[in-house]
């Protein structure tokens, strides 16, 4: 009953016509699919299309004689809708690479289709670490972050500062389950204990009932294994029901700057979160944000948007080097072989299991008095170096990794 609209196509310039036509049907076609109308629309949505377009422009595709076209679509957080879009894109519209795809249940479905059709899948929005674990494929790269990295950042930091008993409030689908599993493992490994969990339907609106159950567990930390407006409403209602003033603390295991913006600093202050990218971290990021925000109604880019930019940049480099976009496996192999380097994520690598490696950052949300300007929300607590930020290659159970 909802709408499905394939969004505007943004064509970027024509080559000089003299370049050899190595690309399938003469065009490199990038499909950005995500939630454009629901709970994750601000953290991914149109912003990801904008980020992809900026990547193509900055790469100078036109000057290099590459014709690149970007299309966008709304998967409504439904695996069946997402699968249909991707099949149509690949079979009918000749899309070469699928980008972003938040909502892990959708991403896992797309993961299989892209492998069968031998195209390329660059994940920025989805979180489930299974994408580079048991479900890894030679066609998929998981770019920005994953549930293991979040657990490793936020979970570890909290257990080490005394938050050693946990109760999970989990979104009842692939992403929530993965985040809960990975965080519980980190908590237990660091000497903490998981006292219980409750799984709420996705997307939810009223969390008070679940929060009361969390309260009754007497756990020191209530781990929110959800995202988007689910996290926003959980945090808001926890403060309403006096849970935080009663001595229990919330751990927002996945939160984006757009969530903090929606909550307001008054409610969000003090939250600790792990992110791969923050707009105010350095000059390059600020410069990118200055160009990005006006195009997305003032919304400052999230790590998902930055990840789309970085992933598309690296993809174009690999395709340029190969002079072909026809064989998805070959393109991904090239992407793994070349070191990554772009202005937002700096230098990095893509591992054999498809995991992109870069540092992660542990942020704390500022107090209202500390914030100097709109969107000035985070202070850096710690940098997690690249070699510690992600799950060790051998532990993921990815069949592509030879043991």
């Amino acid at each position: 009953m909802k709408r499905l609209f394939t969004l505007t196509a943004v064509a970027v310039v024509f080559g000089c016509g003299c370049a050899q036509a190595q690309y399938t049907d003469g065009t490199i076609k990038i499909g950005v699919m995500n939630d454009m109308s629901g709970t994750y629309a601000d953290l991914s949505g149109q912003g990801s299309v904008i980020a992809a377009r900026m990547a193509v422009e900055d790469f100078g595709a036109a000057a290099k004689g590459m014709k690149v076209e970007i299309v966008g679509a709304d998967h409504q957080n439904k695996p069946d809708v997402g699968s249909n879009v991707v099949r149509t894109w690949i079979d009918v519209d000749k899309v070469d690479v699928i980008v972003d795809v938040p909502t892990s249940s959708v991403a896992l479905a797309v993961n299989e289709i892209v492998r069968d059709k031998n195209k390329v899948f660059l994940v920025s929005g989805a979180a489930a670490s299974d994408l580079t674990g048991p479900k890894c494929t030679p066609n998929t790269i998981h770019w920005t972050y994953d549930t293991w990295a979040l657990a490793n950042g936020t979970g570890k930091a909290i257990v080490k500062t005394g938050g050693d008993t946990w109760f999970f409030l989990t979104a009842d689908y692939a992403f929530g389950h993965a985040l809960e599993r990975d965080t519980a493992a980190v908590v237990e490994k660091n000497g903490g204990k998981v006292l219980g969990k409750v799984r709420h339907p996705f997307p939810g609106t009223d969390f008070s009932s679940f929060l009361l159950q969390a309260q009754a567990s007497k756990a020191k930390i209530i781990g929110l294994a959800n995202a988007g407006s689910d996290t926003i409403n959980s945090i808001k209602q926890a403060s309403e029901f006096g849970i935080t003033s009663g001595g229990q603390n919330l751990a927002a295991l996945l939160a984006f700057i757009t969530d903090v913006h929606a909550l307001g600093l008054q409610t969000a202050q003090g939250l600790i979160m792990t992110e791969a990218w923050y707009w105010d971290l350095n000059d390059a990021n600020r410069e990118f944000t200055k160009k990005f925000a006006p195009q997305d109604k003032g919304v400052h880019p999230t790590m998902v948007h930055a990840g789309v930019y970085s992933a598309v940049t690296h993809y174009l480099k690999a395709v340029e080097a190969l002079k072909s976009d026809a064989d998805g496996k070959a393109v991904v192999a090239k992407m793994k072989e070349m070191p990554t380097d772009d202005k937002l994520f700096g230098k990095g690598v893509v591992r054999a299991d498809g995991r992109k490696i870069h540092p992660m950052y542990l942020f704390e949300v500022k107090k209202p008095s500390e914030s100097k300007a709109p969107w000035d929300y985070y202070k850096l607590r710690a940098t997690i170096p690249a070699d510690e930020a992600f799950r060790p290659l051998a532990e993921g159970g990815c069949p592509l990794v030879k043991s």
């Binding site: 994750y40 629309a41 009223d206 009932s209 009361l212 407006s229 309403e240």
Partner: protein
């Protein structure tokens, strides 16, 4: 304290109270739907969007006019109610003679337009709206911590629901209304302006949705899809209560809130579906709904 199925009575009372709070939103929204369907025979699918408009109006009043919650709870229903009247005059009045389906499609389309427009301008994460100072904080009831604001929601919506029921079922004005839906021609013959009465009824039903929106604003973030998430459940409530039955909508609204609250304790994964399971069972046994008059 005793235990029931491994859950302490404390926790149980807490969950029942929360169910009641959620139920008051269901009741308030399904009441508006029932009034509109009962009097106009229109299945108002834009009800969720109008609830969202109520919340946004409260936000605008605070942001741009400096008028707080108490003004909003009075002004927002009037403002949104007037937009409802405009919609009725422009579109709905031409549809009464046609099949229900036309009204449903029109209002569904309007809901998509409203939601899409607001999403375009305000994004999907929503905007913060805080609890009015007089209702901040809460009290410890022994078995749970009750935020004052939630207590207010239950009391106020119960009062609104019962007043509405009383006006429609027990006053002269209400009897005119009911007569006008039964036989408009005859009622017009008595010198009563039936079209105007119908217009105002739609405006009133929409105002109820907006009122629920204002009450929801401090609890949930004010976001464009807040109504879409709720409207399907509310329709189920109306169907279970019996299409068009005022008392049915109120009782079922609160009742289903309670049942949903209990499901969240015993089998949280099913809390989204339990209402629809009940709907299916009720439709099998009493197709006209629990309080409906069978056609």
């Amino acid at each position: 304290m005793f235990e029931l199925f491994g859950i302490s009575s404390q926790a149980l009372f807490g969950q029942l109270l929360i169910g009641l709070i959620n139920g008051s939103f269901y009741a308030l929204l399904s009441l508006g739907l029932a009034v509109i369907f009962g009097m106009l025979n229109i299945i108002n699918f834009s009800h969720g969007a109008q609830y969202m408009l109520g919340a946004f109006t409260a936000y605008f009043l605070l942001q741009y006019a400096g008028l707080g919650y108490w003004w909003a709870i009075f002004l927002a229903p009037i403002v949104v109610g007037i937009t409802g009247i405009i919609i009725e005059r422009l579109f709905l009045q031409w549809l009464y003679k046609l099949d229900h389906l036309y009204g449903l499609l029109l209002t569904f389309g309007l809901a998509l337009i409203f939601e899409g427009t607001f999403r375009n301008f305000f994004g999907s994460s929503g905007l913060p709206y805080s609890v009015p100072p007089a209702l901040q904080g809460g009290r410890n009831l022994g078995f749970m911590f009750l935020p004052n604001y939630r207590g207010w929601v239950v009391v106020f919506s119960l009062a609104v629901c019962l007043t509405t029921w009383f006006v429609i079922e027990r006053t002269k004005l209400g009897s005119y209304l009911r007569a006008a839906t039964e036989n408009p021609t005859l009622v017009r013959a008595f010198g009563i302006n039936v079209p105007r009465m119908i217009t105002l009824t739609y405006g009133f039903g929409v105002a109820l949705a907006a009122l629920a929106g204002v009450m929801a604003a401090p609890i949930y973030n004010v976001s464009p899809q807040m109504g879409a998430n709720l409207i399907i459940v509310v329709f189920a409530v109306v169907v279970i209560g019996g299409m068009g039955s005022i008392m049915g909508a109120i009782v079922t609204g609160f009742g289903l809130g309670l049942i949903e609250g209990l499901t969240k304790v015993f089998f949280p994964e099913a809390s989204n579906t339990v209402i629809f399971i009940i709907m299916a069972i009720v439709l099998l046994i009493r197709p006209a709904g629990l309080f409906g008059r069978s056609a």
